[in-house]
């Protein structure tokens, strides 16, 4: 899908690139702003027909197990509800994913909606990243309860978020509504400072 308007990342005004380091060293927490991540809301009852059609378009079937994500080829599907997923794509690939899903799901009771601009994505990693989230999130983030490949909708510092654990290192992607991105980034920075914070490029 061609760019038809100039886009601005939700955290561009913080000039994070100017603070970014190449090597986080022994920082306890590493944060970045992931700009222009493609996001597609997918709705439909997960019948065999629906899952086959969506799976054909994505290369993998959307997960039916609550609070889990699935993915292949750089595209992920985050479970949001029994008939709802957030499809996450690398920047610029949301258009082809939308076209593929719509083509395969044609005629079914399903909805495919580009919501890329709705949320900002903050990358949070490092050995103390879990502690930072635990300061403001009611989820049980202990490794026995929440691990790589898990995702959940909840609140972080009272902002609505989707937390997706991408690695057992641990590393997380935090999806936050765009107008809360500045607030949440600043809250996370404040929470992470005591562990040593490094900012890297997204």
């Amino acid at each position: 899908m061609p760019e038809t308007y100039p886009r601005q990342g939700a955290l561009d005004h913080l000039r994070l690139d100017a603070r970014a380091v190449d090597d986080p060293g022994d920082a306890g927490v590493v944060m970045c702003a992931r700009r222009f991540v493609g996001k597609v809301n997918l709705r439909g009852r997960p019948t065999k027909r629906f899952r086959e059609a969506a799976g054909g378009a994505l290369g993998f079937a959307p997960p039916v197990k609550p609070n889990t994500a699935a993915g292949a080829g750089g595209v992920s599907a985050l479970w949001l509800g029994p008939d709802e997923w957030l499809i996450v794509t690398p920047p610029g690939r949301e258009g082809e994913v939308i076209e593929g899903l719509r083509a395969r799901l044609g005629g079914q009771h399903a909805a495919v909606t580009d919501v890329s601009e709705g949320r900002a994505v903050i990358g949070l990693a490092g050995p103390r990243a879990r502690e930072v989230l635990m300061k403001g999130c009611p989820l049980d983030l202990h490794p026995r309860a929440f691990k790589a490949g898990d995702c959940a909708q909840s609140t972080l510092a009272r902002a609505l978020v989707i937390v997706h654990q991408t690695s057992d290192a641990p590393a997380y992607d935090v999806y936050v509504e765009r107008s809360f991105a500045d607030y949440l980034w600043r809250w996370l920075e404040d929470a992470a400072t005591e562990y040593g914070l490094a900012v890297i490029r997204g």
Binding site: P66, N67, L80, G81, P82, E84, P138, L139, D140, A152, Q153, S154, T155, L160
Partner: protein, 93 residues
């Protein structure tokens, strides 16, 4: 703080949920045919028990699904959680 088990997402803190009042109240099929008393009965009158209560909750900060809970209004103990359209387990409230 209650811990409520969303039938989809599992146990979560009460702060993630919205309360929806008494469960299993059917909207009258033809409100125009009701007397004012019958309409008021549907609209306003609730059981308000001290003890087990069947009520609706919505996982507002999570999957955003409505579901039913059986909660003791005196002890706050939750003894059942079941999905919309399902009957309360056992003998109800």
């Amino acid at each position: 703080m209650l811990e409520i088990t969303c039938p989809w997402c599992g146990p979560r803190d009460e702060t993630e949920f919205d309360y929806g009042g008494e469960a299993h109240i059917d909207r009258p099929k033809d409100p125009d045919k009701l007397t004012d008393e019958a309409w008021a009965e549907y609209l306003f009158m609730r059981k308000n028990p001290k003890g087990p209560h069947l009520e609706r909750w919505m996982h507002a900060c999570g999957c955003r699904r409505w579901f039913n809970v059986r909660r003791d209004t005196f002890t706050h103990e939750i003894t059942a959680v079941y999905r919309m359209g399902e009957k309360p387990p056992g003998d109800g409230a």
